[in-house]
């Protein structure tokens, strides 16, 4: 940010009619970073400092509206900074003067209203921002060298922009790589490719599926084998042999499986009938094989969440 260096005009408003008003607005000063060397289309920053008595604030409605000021000058914006005892206007103009030679032009002044609200009423005062002069410079020589084709006086149209697909492509590749990484993580977590990561129920569920694919699922032998797989999963999870009476203690030690307590109780009942009652058919009627598979899947899921 350039500091406005040249105090261009210091206007003490002694011409104001009443002495009171003069006391309320103590002075106006317009500063510009430089007062010369502007080409057409350049933005011109100006800063007007109004020194006021404490309590006076600017009436925003009295500020000039952005828009054309004269045929060669636009006001682009007005920003107000208020501090105790001072109001600063930051004015941005844009000059469109197509100069043939370097010359001084006058930027017209304007007036703003300041007001102070006291219990006795509102006191208002006018501050005149004086006009100031602006030095504009030509962009081209007065008489350019003669050309056969007058369109050669113009600057060319220039090249048009293109879209850049590379960032999108890079983002797509990065996402793809991350997706592959996440997929690998998922495969590892679910032990899709062999390694079971100490997940006895997942292994048991897989063994049961293999059993089903091998066609050995039918009959009593297959059912007993399925029950044995559940037993093995329970034993490996607990690190010791788990029997029907141990179930509450097992659920205490492994609270993740508490949701499957009822299914496990049915499993133990079926297991007792199948192995000790020698009634595999009855057992499989009480706890059919699809349910064995479903329970084992749920146990494997609970194990993943453990």
């Amino acid at each position: 940010m350039r500091r406005p260096a040249i105090p261009l005009l210091v206007a003490l408003l002694l011409a104001l009619p009443a002495g009171t008003a003069a006391a309320q607005v103590r002075g106006v000063e317009v500063r510009v970073p430089r007062a010369f060397g502007y080409f057409l289309g350049d933005l011109v920053e100006a800063q007007a400092d109004i020194a006021v008595d404490p309590g006076f604030t600017l009436q925003r409605a009295s500020l000039p509206q952005p828009g054309p000021v004269t045929y060669w000058l636009d006001l682009r914006g007005v920003a107000v900074e208020a501090a105790p005892g001072r109001v600063r206007l930051r004015l941005t103009y844009q000059t469109f003067y197509a100069a043939l030679d370097a010359r001084q032009l006058t930027v017209p002044g304007f007036s703003v209203t300041l007001a102070s609200e006291t219990p006795g009423g509102i006191t208002s005062a006018k501050a005149e921002i004086p006009g100031w002069s602006l030095g504009v410079s030509p962009l081209r020589e007065v008489q350019p060298p003669a050309r056969d084709d007058p369109t050669e006086y113009l600057r060319p149209d220039g090249r048009g922009g293109r879209l850049d697909p590379v960032p999108w492509l890079r983002a797509a590749l990065a996402c793809l790589a991350l997706a592959a990484l996440a997929l690998a993580g998922l495969a590892y977590d679910r032990a899709w490719f062999g390694r079971s990561r100490r997940r006895p129920f997942a292994r048991a569920a897989r063994a049961l599926r293999r059993l089903g694919r091998a066609g050995a699922s039918g009959g009593e032998g297959g059912y007993r084998e399925a029950l044995r797989l559940v037993h093995r999963g329970l034993d490996e999870t607990d690190g010791r042999r788990v029997l029907a009476d141990d179930l509450p203690a097992f659920l205490d030690r492994h609270p993740a499986f508490r949701g499957e307590g009822a299914a496990l109780a049915r499993f133990f009942a079926a297991s007792r009938r199948a192995f000790f009652g020698r009634d595999a058919a009855g057992a499989s009627a009480a706890w059919p094989r699809p349910e064995v598979e479903a329970s084992l899947r749920r146990l494997a899921a609970a194990e993943r969440a453990a």
């Binding site: 922009g161 697909p165 996402c175 996440a182 977590d189």
Partner: protein, 199 residues
């Protein structure tokens, strides 16, 4: 580590354990979808660039007002080079709506250049009546482009060229009478000038 230190973390840890399997499942799907979206965007950008190249090579292609900004500019360039200036208006308006001041400034610059070239051609044919409005419109376009982009040096230069074809007259000149002073040094004097002498 004591139990008391673990206590505030325990529910978090439990929640994490419960959410982990589904998170692991959702993550690759989301990432794959994102990759697909980015890939589609890259493909669209490539297709847009091909259309721009075709327009630059002189093949016309229809462009919707909601097309990407560089494509709109390319179409304006195509139309301006072929004196189809009326058709550029909706495209420039679309650029204004798209809040792309740089591109809108470029499009106005292209249209204004086309107008000045047309004016030069008319002046060469001594068709001054129609050249005047073209220059005036071009100057408005340059000015509007510079308002959007004050550091657009080519537009400044060409506005200067156009401004020397028809100069601005301050208010006091305009109110003092219909006759306008012509500066003898200028090659093309002020076109709307009236001949001296009363009726």
């Amino acid at each position: 580590m004591t139990g008391s230190a673990d206590a505030p973390i325990a529910p978090l840890r439990r929640a994490w354990r419960r959410a982990r399997p589904s998170l692991l499942l959702v993550l690759p799907i989301l990432l794959a979808l994102a990759a697909l979206g980015f890939g589609a965007a890259a493909w669209r950008a490539e297709r847009t660039n091909r259309t721009i190249a075709a327009l630059d090579a002189g093949e016309d292609a229809a462009v919707a007002p909601d097309a990407p900004v560089p494509l709109l500019v390319a179409r304006v360039r195509f139309l301006a080079a072929r004196d189809r200036l009326e058709e550029t208006e909706p495209l420039v308006a679309a650029l204004d709506r798209a809040a792309a001041p740089e591109a809108a400034a470029r499009a106005r610059y292209l249209v204004a250049n086309a107008r000045v070239r047309d004016a030069f051609a008319r002046i060469a044919r001594s068709d001054l009546d129609k050249a005047g409005p073209q220059v005036t419109l071009a100057r408005q376009d340059y000015r509007r482009a510079l308002r959007d982009r004050p550091d657009f040096w080519d537009a400044k230069f060409n506005l200067d060229v156009a401004s020397r074809l028809i100069r601005d007259f301050p208010e006091f000149d305009r109110t003092s009478g219909d006759e306008m002073r012509a500066e003898p040094k200028q090659i093309w004097t002020d076109i709307p000038g009236q001949p001296r002498g009363g009726p």
